[in-house]
Symmetry: C2
Subunit: 211 residues, 2 copies
Amino acid sequence: MPGRGGDERTETQPSSRNKRAEIVAVATEYFGDNGYEDTKWADVAAAVGLGPTALYHYFESKQQCLFEILVEAVEDARAEFLRSGQGEFAAVFPAVVRRSFERSDREARRARVLVAEQGLVRHPRRAPREEDARLRAFALLKEYEAGWRDLLAAGMEEGAIPAVDPDLLSRAVIGTYNSVWRWYRPDGRLGLDEVADFFVPRLLALAGLPE
Amino acid sequence: MPGRGGDERTETQPSSRNKRAEIVAVATEYFGDNGYEDTKWADVAAAVGLGPTALYHYFESKQQCLFEILVEAVEDARAEFLRSGQGEFAAVFPAVVRRSFERSDREARRARVLVAEQGLVRHPRRAPREEDARLRAFALLKEYEAGWRDLLAAGMEEGAIPAVDPDLLSRAVIGTYNSVWRWYRPDGRLGLDEVADFFVPRLLALAGLPE
């Protein structure tokens, strides 16, 4: 997706934004298909027709690019979460859960990369742009997890679901949800609707929402 | 844990086996604490007092060592699974699930590494010993997943749990279970008993076992 501005990124010219988006798309595909570690940054450069110096203008490194992918993925998830609006837990929570399975093939691949590589946000980097991207990804992930925890805690306060440790419950919900992206493939045997039909009611049950 | 023999590994002299075990223990600790990618193989060598040539005798590379750690972790899990014995699903499944949370601090750290890095088993390696270890880890992981799937399918056949897609159900159970190791720390706020008390009944409910 095109860059969202901010002086950290490129000048906001359409061709720069498009090029950045192209790099992100190719990197996401390669990281998803081959794994982040086995993807050669040089192959990404070649695929978008950029030499190392030109590529450096957009991303200092493969790792910075990964962190930026994570930032965008989590920003989108957060925005979707916030769009579910206010209201009773028993209405809001199922809507949020259902919506979290509405993913295009590209978004599913990006979710795969996020789930596979999110552990990398925990470890400080030396290179400044990498470290800046890592910190943003790390902070956003924490906010994302807190969002689920706060929603579940609100449900408990409402009496909509049994009161349990909200840390444990949010980890269980997020953990079960995230695990789907490790194996789900857009070209696989099961369509995402089928997967959602299976997981959504079970995630609601996990939270303790009566059927 | 000490090497289990087989010509792939070192001569079966106690000091070799102990050294190999020491390398595995240090590597597991570093991979768990710093992440596999950020761990320098040279630091592992230094910590066990071996130069690169001597270390190469045990492990061709950091990656081969990781795959061997995965092999041992999954072999232990499989052995534990098989020890749960035959019998009615309603007795066997809860026992297996409960036992899967009985982990020493070292085993918890190893599980963390397994869950964080298991994606790496999907991608072929060039170096022969690495590739051999990868294939073993990959095959064992497939067997491990099949074990859960077969157990759940047997439960469905018994009528002990509702019949659903056993692939989806085993993925849900394994995914929820595995997610614990991403965040659980032996020195964290929550003890493993507390974590088990939360997750075990929810895993049973996920499978559809009546309370």
